[in-house]
């Protein structure tokens, strides 16, 4: 499969490339990146006015397969990923059964190979059944392709077990991703414990429920030498602690979701469960801290925590609704709006948050654009105006608070192994 992408502005954070380049793809690899490539006998894609970036990597998604296929499948979720400009996703293990064994990991890898338009890296569980008791088959899952381990959503409460898991994972060079939430502190909570929570008469999830676990994990990372990655960081104090850990040279990284740096608990209106997720939407102060963290490098990358739930489960009393929102298709639009158009970062920095640094959090060999490298590319516009229509989503679920949102800039085409797997409807 050969393809020539002409006239685009190529950006590669790794090599600090930023300029007019043509990109030639041959045999699923990038054959050449040159100021001008002229070749007659090859399919050409005109990328004039577009950014040509390394393929975006989302290290935190829920694809719901196996077991919860009515909400999402590996196929539907990865199609939504492609529509969001992602060429690779890492899927969390809270499926049914939990991905805590080589069998489940290889099932996901195999299904993805057959049905997914983008690369799918499973994340294995830390403990069997994510019950927080016995260690899962971490090494065996690694051998089948697991990119990291996490008990996302059902975090390991027992610090002794977490410490052992970290030590063990470190011996395989695997990152431990932690959904930092002290379940005793957050118990029964619905939204961030603040004025909005008091006003709505909902139960609070305190900032401390995240922060005590971030503190614990940093201390354990220091002690075990394991690489700890803080998932969906959401509070000012958590971010300050990660900043300090990095200053001390500790192996700690962090991600933030687009919704955590764009909207706050004040946006929760009408008891709409599309605003219900964990961690909860926090305060304007926390958003400021997240933006600062994205700018100064405390926060390594943007990850969506794409968490599909069917309409039925989200159409209930707020407190009964499950946590989580979809996010693959709106991530770039939100990041462009807030970070790039907001004047906080340049395009290289923005691309880095979706590519190089995201991949590096888990040690994935992705997120680079260079001759000889894999032909995974994300083409996007910084200017095209569009409106997000959740009814047109490629995900099987529609639980997004951003339906109807106007965006300036977004994905234009997604290329995986040299093949265009998605392109924006109006640019096709």
């Amino acid at each position: 499969m050969n393809l020539l992408i002409k006239n685009g502005r190529a950006i590669d954070p790794q090599t600090k490339l930023d300029g007019r380049r043509d990109v030639l793809i041959e045999g699923g690899k990038i054959a050449a990146v040159e100021p001008a490539i002229d070749k007659a006998d090859v399919e050409t894609l005109d990328a004039a006015g577009l950014i040509v970036a390394p393929g975006f990597v989302d290290i935190h998604v829920h694809l719901r397969e196996p077991g919860i296929e009515h909400a999402e499948t590996i196929e539907s979720g990865s199609k939504a990923a492609a529509a969001g400009g992602f060429t690779a996703v890492c899927c969390m293990p809270n499926t049914i059964p939990v991905n805590d064994s080589a069998q489940v990991t290889s099932f996901i890898v195999e299904r993805a190979r057959r049905y997914a338009p983008v690369h799918v890296h499973p994340i294995g569980a830390v403990t069997k059944g994510s019950k927080g008791e016995q260690l899962a088959d971490i090494g065996a899952m690694r051998n089948e392709g697991a990119a990291a381990i996490s008990d996302d959503g059902i975090p390991v409460m027992n610090s002794g077990i977490m410490r052992r898991a970290m030590k063990y994972a470190a011996s395989f060079g695997m990152t431990v991703i932690d959904h930092c939430e002290d379940l005793n502190l957050s118990s029964g909570g619905d939204i961030h414990e603040g004025v909005q929570c008091a006003r709505l008469g909902l139960r609070g999830i305190s900032a401390s429920s995240e922060e005590v676990m971030v503190a614990r994990d940093i201390i354990l990372a220091a002690e075990t030498g394991a690489h700890v990655h803080v998932a969906h960081i959401s509070t000012k104090n958590s971010i300050a602690m990660v900043r300090q850990a990095k200053k001390l040279g500790l192996p700690v990284t962090a991600e933030v979701t687009p919704h955590h740096f764009t909207i706050t608990d004040e946006h929760i209106r009408g008891y709409d469960s599309n605003y219900k997720m964990k961690p909860p939407l926090r305060t304007p102060e926390d958003i400021e801290a997240a933006l600062e963290g994205l700018v100064d490098g405390t926060i390594d990358c943007i990850a969506t925590d794409h968490a599909p739930h069917t309409g039925n489960t989200k159409m209930q009393e707020f407190e009964r609704c499950p946590f989580g929102i979809t996010g693959l298709e709106t991530a770039l639009g939100l990041a462009l709006e807030k970070l790039y158009h907001g004047g906080l970062v340049d395009l290289t920095h923005l691309v880095r948050l979706f590519t190089t640094d995201a991949a590096d959090c888990l040690g994935l060999r992705r997120g680079r654009l260079f001759a000889g490298g894999p032909a995974d590319l994300t083409l996007f516009s910084t200017e095209r105006e569009w409106t997000y229509d959740v009814n047109a989503t490629l995900s099987k679920s529609k639980n997004s608070p951003f339906h109807g949102c106007r965006f300036r800039g977004g994905p234009a085409a997604t290329i995986v192994n040299g093949r265009v797997v998605w392109s924006a409807p109006d640019s096709a």
Binding site: V195, A198, R199, G201, T262, I263, G270, Y271, F318, K338
Partner: protein, 317 residues
């Protein structure tokens, strides 16, 4: 750069009038409801008015939580206005068969009632439903959120003995965090410039409550709360909404129970309110409950009048 969210969650079709919370009511609307309540309240020695304002209309009383006084009060109010009422309790509905709240309400709405009065254990349940229903909805208490008709009848009761709400010092004492009565009263009283003091142990009084409306202060000290108070509003300890222990039951009365002794630093004409049902010996002493200061029975009586006003308002008279 601000992310502008679309207004996809604004409540209700525009022409539907709901009473979801005191927070959403304007001062003028509250004044209108209080005025109509006074009209409906029977004069001394007069039998209650029996009207045909809502003749031919049907009102569904949908109670997902046990209730005696609110349910009965709405029923009497509807009947005095000539409406037909249908009472549905959770045990009698298909909810116990696993039907979702949305399906239950859709089924009811298909029967075209003129209003639905709903009580539900989940905060926001009527707000959530009103986004999908065109039937007017009256919130008769949603979880820990609001109980607007209680706040209206409390204001009504206060105004029977005070000239104005403005400048009154109102102490609300007890389990504030779990109380929908407290939230509705805070919103209503704040709109009229009352000074509201919330009091209880810190596990029952979230500091964030001071941020929900202007003029609200917090104290953990009962004596401070009642000092110079014009109105003392005691709340029921809501054991059923407390998943975890938030106070040692054995010593609650000692620190937050209202006794005659407490009334001394209050204003000489201070009144005591309680939304009921009262737990004598837990929230207030027998002597207070039965004293001249207590307006608890007036509250019950006024509840019917104010709910007549509310029904008239949502049904458009």
């Amino acid at each position: 750069m601000a992310i502008t969210l679309p207004a996809n969650v604004t409540a209700t079709p525009a022409n539907t009038r709901n009473l979801l919370g005191a927070e959403d009511l304007s001062r003028a609307e509250i004044e209108w409801l209080l005025e109509r309540g006074r009209f409906y309240k029977p004069q001394r020695n007069e039998p209650p008015k029996k009207l045909d304002t809502l003749r031919g209309r049907s009102i569904v009383n949908l109670f997902f939580e046990p209730s005696t006084r609110t349910r009965t009060s709405f029923e009497i109010a509807a009947k005095r206005l000539g409406a037909d009422t249908i009472g549905i309790q959770t045990q009698g509905s298909s909810l116990s068969k696993g039907e979702s709240l949305v399906d239950t309400l859709n089924t009811l709405a298909a029967m075209s009632p003129d209003a639905i009065v709903m009580r539900h254990a989940a905060s926001g349940a009527p707000h959530f439903l009103s986004r999908y229903l065109s039937t007017p909805m009256i919130n008769a208490g949603d979880g820990r959120h609001e109980h607007p008709t209680q706040a209206l009848l409390d204001a009504f009761t206060i105004l029977e003995v005070k000239d104005t709400l403005e400048g009154l010092r109102v102490a609300i004492i007890g389990d504030i965090s779990h109380s929908r009565v407290a939230r509705s009263n805070v919103h209503l009283l704040a709109k009229f410039g009352a000074a509201i003091v919330l009091c209880g142990p810190a596990t029952m009084v979230s500091g964030n409550m001071a941020g929900i409306a202007p003029g609200v202060t917090l104290t953990y000290d009962m004596n401070e709360a009642v000092a110079d108070a014009d109105v003392i509003m005691m709340l029921r300890v809501q054991l059923e909404r407390q998943n975890v222990e938030i106070f040692p039951k054995s010593e609650y009365f000692q620190f937050y129970g209202l006794t005659l002794e407490h009334l001394k630093p209050a204003k000489p004409d201070a009144i005591v309110l309680h939304p009921g049902p009262i737990n004598r010996g837990r929230e207030l002493s027998n002597e207070v409950a039965d004293s001249q200061r207590s307006m608890i029975l007036n509250q019950v009586e006024n509840g019917v009048a104010i709910r007549m006003a509310v029904l008239e308002w949502v049904c458009g008279g």
